[in-house]
Amino acid sequence: MVRVRTNDGHRSVHTGSAPWPIVTLAVVATIVLVLPLVALVQRAPWSAVVDELRSPAVRTALRLSLVCSLSATALAIVLGVPLAWVLARTEFRGRRALRALVTLPVVLPPVVGGVALLMAFGRRGLVGQLLDDWFGIRLAFTTSGVVLAETFVALPFLVLAVEGALRSSDRRYEDAAATLGSGRLSTFWRVTLPIVGPGIGAGAVLAWARALGEFGATITFAANAPGRTQTVPLAVYQSLEGSDQDGAIVLSLVLLVVSFSVLVALRDRWLGPLR
């Protein structure tokens, strides 16, 4: 029986059953969310998991995914924390517009991001052409391109998380640091960053998970070249295309385990403290 919880968290004394239409829809929603994952685990070729993970193609994709997503996360921290600070701590014309632009990739379909990246950094792109002509740097269809695509998608998550942490932190800590002789840059390093450290950590985990699962922007901007741009999600896609269902399932399980770990790591943030 589903009991009704009152607002303050105590169970109601008169525990009536919840109305059945609501419960029914809630059950359907749960099935929609959980059934596919159950199916994935149920269809896993458990005897072949170890062999699949040892296969050179899978290991190459895993290594590439790890390197690219960690690079993208590092890049997102280095660039995103200062951007978050500017958004949270300074006041200038167009700050709100900048914030909206920064947030846009969160809701933008990743494939659009990929096309946009091509227009900017492709060989005939706005900047890509100059990079190629002057420095011989090509980003499209390279591993660097994968990192760029993943950064593009992950960065906003980090910026928003860190900006939120900065806004909710007490600015008077920075005042206190100033009265103790600390300049603004020194205060940023020694006071602001440590205080919003947990926010940066949470933002980084979120950004990393986003980068690891990136598909649309990567395949559009960097294509699907094994060993160079084929990350795990792209390898899953190719395996299914080439009817290597077992390979697709094993790689999907790997991503599922990672996602679950992220959820556990951020449980305090999303699920509230454990009771």
Partner: protein, 379 residues
């Protein structure tokens, strides 16, 4: 009621700093800022080693004043000098940011950096001013010891009680030996017992402090007992700036009269009470038997605790003096009556009581104070 405060040293007694000549090595400030509808316009002088208390109702601009002195908010008009150096003068386009001013700031809620130990919090200012880590930690430990908190050196701020945190915050503000110490209601977040301890700790710490001190508070006892000079701010303006005794004895506005306008004497504990004037009977307090004979104390009697009678009092009131009315002033719903007798005294009565008793200058009355209404503070 006995409240104690740490022993004053000779160098810090009120008398020494009664003079009002601005010391170029202390603080001179003329602060003008607009705060929404409030115009803050305050002149403030604090000599070296002097303590100025800034007292005022909520929203009077006290905290803003401190933030201006610290450089956390630039002036709109005016001028601030610390130790003879101009740190803010908008007309001359001078503004020294807080990190380059010689200041220490104690916030109401300590604001210790949560990621640093108590020791590293105290060492922070020394480190930022270029001290080596080892030296900074050694000096920080000395400061923690001076405030009786060296056993907390390795504790994180979240492990400290409010009183402990405020002591560490005080050590942190003093460790780099600033020329100006700014205290923003440092005790108001503490409960009463801890507050008394803290006041004692502050007084001890200030004994060796050679800079100027500005203490913002809304607690009149704090202001009267810690400061050499009390500045009252109401709605952004100074309404009175005097020695504590004068503020207590001659409050200039109803707000001051209501809060600070108390009878304040200094005296010596003797058998039967506190002697404040040679030759007159001692003031009897419910507290004196707990103090050793000869203790130097401050005696506070709130004017509303003074009863006025035309006939000699019946029964056995412990404190009853025959006095002459010198002044009668109406402050809002109260009448303040100035009296003279063995010593000056201020009483506060309702307008109807005043007219019934026929109070007017020259009238003879009996002033009566219950022994339980006489507050004693150890000097």
């Amino acid at each position: 009621m006995i409240r104690t405060k740490a022993r004053k040293t000779e160098a810090r007694t009120t008398e020494t700093h009664r003079d009002e000549t601005p010391s170029p090595s202390g603080l001179t400030a003329s602060v003008g800022v607009r705060l929404g509808s409030l115009e803050l316009d305050v002149d403030l002088l604090a000599p070296e080693a002097g303590v100025v208390a800034v007292l005022g109702p909520n929203g009077a601009g006290k905290t803003t004043l401190l933030r201006c002195l610290a450089g956390l908010r630039p002036l709109d008009a005016g001028r601030v000098t610390i130790g003879g150096t101009v740190v803010d003068d908008p007309a001359a386009r001078v503004f020294v940011p807080p990190e380059r001013r010689s200041i220490g700031f104690v916030f109401q809620d300590a604001l210790l950096f949560p990621h640093l130990s108590a020791l590293d919090n105290v060492a922070f200012g020394l480190r930022r001013r270029g001290a080596r880590t080892v030296d900074a930690r050694r000096r920080a430990l000395e400061w923690l010891a001076r405030l009786g908190t060296e056993y907390l050196a390795q504790a994180r701020p979240r492990e400290l009680s409010a009183g402990q945190a405020q002591r560490v915050a005080l050590a942190r503000a003093l460790a780099h030996e600033p020329r100006l110490l700014l205290l923003d209601e440092p005790f108001s977040a503490l409960d009463a017992a801890v507050r008394i301890e803290m006041r004692r700790a502050l007084r001890m710490a200030l004994v060796k402090f050679t800079g100027a001190v500005v203490l913002v508070t809304h607690d009149p006892v704090e202001a009267l007992s810690l400061a050499d000079r009390v500045v009252i701010i109401e709605r952004g303006q100074v309404t009175q700036a005097d020695a504590p005794y004068d503020v207590a004895a001659r409050p200039r506005t109803p707000w001051i009269a209501g809060l600070v306008g108390v009878n304040l004497w200094h005296g010596t504990v003797e058998a039967g009470g506190v002697s404040i004037v040679a030759g007159s009977p001692p003031i009897v307090s419910a507290d004196t038997d707990r103090l050793p004979l000869g203790s130097r104390v401050s005696v506070v009697v709130h004017p509303h605790a003074v009863g006025l009678y035309t006939a000699p009092p019946q029964g056995t009131p412990r404190n009853a003096w025959s006095m002459t009315v010198t002044t009668v002033e109406r402050h809002g719903g109260r009448v303040r009556v100035g009296l003279d007798g063995p010593f000056p005294l201020v009483a506060e009565v309702t307008p109807s009581a005043a007219s019934e008793t026929g109070l007017s200058p020259g009238a003879q009355v009996w002033a009566v104070v219950k022994a339980t209404e006489v507050e004693i503070f150890e000097d």
